[in-house]
Amino acid sequence: MNDSGDSATEPGSLRALILDNQRVIDDLNARVQRRDREVRIIQQISSEINATLDLDQMLGLILDSLDRVLGFKHCMILLADEKLAQLSVAAMRGYKDQQTRTIVQVGQGPIGVAARRRRVVRMAAMGTQLGYAAAVRGEMGQEQTQIKLPGLADVQSQMALPLIVKERLVGVLAVESAAPSAFDELDELLLSIVANQCAAAIDNARLYLGEQERSELLDRTNRDLQHLNDTLESKVRDRTAELTQAFADLERRKRQHEELLAHMAPVDLIPLMVEGRLQASRLTATVMFTDLSGFTAFSAGMEPDEVFAHLNHYFAWLGDVTSRYRGYVNKTMGDGTMILFGVPVASPSHATDAVVAALTLQANAASTISLAMRIGISSGVITAGMLGPRNKSMYDILGETVNLAQRMEGSAPLGGIVVTPATAELIQPYFVTEALPDLEIKGLSRRASFRVIGMRTLKDDPRRFDPSSRFAEMVTPLQAEIEAFKAQHLSRVNFISVQARDGAFYHNETVAILALALQRELGRQDRLSASTSDIDEQAVIRLALVHDLGKRAIDPRRLNERGLSEEDRTSLRADLESHTIETLAQLEFDSMAEAVRALYRFEAQQQPHAVFDALTTIVGIADIFDALVAPKFYKGAPWTVRGALEEVARMPIMLGEQRGFLNVFAELMRPASVSLTMARADVPKPIID
């Protein structure tokens, strides 16, 4: 708190501000809760008061409640005598000494003024105020006097509430304290309710009533109580709204501070920064450098603000693209940038995320800034932490990996992406790369480098099918067909961004290709004509392409977790299913929800005799097969084609009705040199010998 405003950009003072705001927010929350609690207490007191009509007993009960339940230690009730224009004490609590004064003239002191004005009077710091008034009196050459009133000799705070029934003053309820500022608005609100109850009770008790009248009166009092409770709630709502407003202001200020911090470090680190727990750490991560070719020449004739506008537009776009792939733009240097992946939160997808982001940037650079980019990428161990002078420190990283990334960028051709061997190895299962002639890097040993050509599609991925199989002959035209389908019907879906989350690159397309191949083979052989002849090919392709789009709504860390328990896996699948159905609704493919549900049931099915329709079975087999053979971050080596076919055949669901489909699929996918034994549907035997 000893920082004054102008050092607000310094993390230390921001931390203090945020902590301070948090404390105020907690306090406001506590006050809102206190409000709720006290409202309930008041309702309880109100019903106690209504249960009796004996005046003394009632006044005693009210004061006891004020002391015991609400904590007002010194309180009194005075009854009004209209003729004498005075009030006399009828009940008191919390006074040790015998009170010598029991009368207050109307208009005298807080109690008298409350009676005269018929308004609540809430006083604080009365000692100073009285001293001030005495000074004025002395200044006017008058003798000092102070009128003695009932109550505490050293009173500092006092609240007096008029008791009014049917526009007639019946008395005053007063509480007081020797503390300088003992009562707040909430106390005033609470006591106003008690005062209303008290006034009605006094009035009731003063009247002589027959049983019938008394019961009517009680009914009316209860109705009044109900009304009070209703108004009470709305009053509390109003006060709560005020608090909520204050709360929102604080939240906004907190957000502003956090946004300021976000300029200095990744958002994930802000809580650590605020708590001062951010320490330098070593991480395996990927660093990307980008550069715009010819920006200096491009901007030569521009006004400075025009240059900034262009660059800021470019950086905004670059930030959008990289953040989609969990990248963090750590700094910009002229038209160049340094972007981090897998920092500060470790991620198994750091290398592929960087490369996907780089490919996306290169594909759109021309249309966004009409200049060519160079991109260099390097993966390895880095040291990360806050770096720089105390008031200008930024989250930054150090290490050879950083230098290498910069060199890769320097050697990249226009429009190209060049990566180190370490990155190339990490991305090799998913991307096609090409070795470049060795680079001479100043200060470092000779390093190989690789140029990224593009994503590995199914036809370039011989581990996902056998080159000697019959399927290998069909893959190229089928892939072209699926790509055309995607472009025509699903151009709104960015498959790569969904697949990048768990490294399932080209999985949806592959499932579609495999399913379409199986569907056509079944039709060609006419073996299962009864069930397959009328399946719509488009339905097969569509289900295959969209079956796991719900991944977009799931935290990649959860998708990539190794060794999930059965329970966690089930819950992940359930979430995937419901998010996929939501996504389909957004794509206006609601009609596919049932097919998606059937597919998820199929894949979780443990009963060998369960029966599924042809659409589900075809897509299910294709999906399970590709899930086994495709590379994944969380898997070691993927399954071989042969191993995968055996594994699918062992699934309980494949032992029943669905066996015929699998046999056709196995025939299509098997290596030419391997012969298959067609097992009977009810015999759990391997299908490949």
Binding site: N2, M123, A124, V136, L149, P180
Partner: protein, 140 residues
């Protein structure tokens, strides 16, 4: 002076607005003469307004009607921290809930000191709080 973000009085300053320790207000006449005076209480009005009562006309009241800016210091009676406010005179009230509340409090005190006849509230000057800060303080 346009300013986008209204100031919110921090909760920490509230005890200083109860009148336990008199406050000081500095204003400036249009001829350039600054004027400092003690006031018994700076009253809280809402999150970015405070009010000063006046029973007697003064240089302060004249000054802010010529030049609305005022600087105020109040002292928190709990820890004696000093709070500095930059204010701008907004308007004066001679009736309404704020005036009545201040008037009743004054009446309560006046009636206890035999001053009811002279100690009358003439008006409540409402000021907008432009800035509030705590004077430098050794410990937090």
């Amino acid at each position: 002076m346009p300013h986008a973000d209204p100031v919110t009085l921090p909760a920490e300053v509230m005890p200083a607005l109860q009148g336990a320790i008199p406050a000081t207000i500095v204003t400036c006449a249009l001829d350039g003469e600054p004027n400092a005076t003690t006031v018994s209480q700076v009253h809280y009005v809402d999150r970015n307004h405070v009010a000063l009562s006046f029973q007697f006309f003064s240089k302060t009241i004249r000054n802010v009607r010529e030049n609305p800016y005022a600087a105020v210091q109040v002292i928190n009676p709990v820890d004696f921290s000093v709070w500095l406010f930059d204010l701008r005179y907004d308007h004066s009230e001679t009736e309404g809930p704020l005036f009545d509340d201040m008037d009743m409090k004054l009446e309560a005190i006046a009636s206890m000191t035999g001053m009811s006849d002279v100690f009358k509230l003439r008006g409540a000057d409402v000021y907008e709080v432009l800035a509030v800060r705590k004077a430098p303080w050794r410990r937090t």
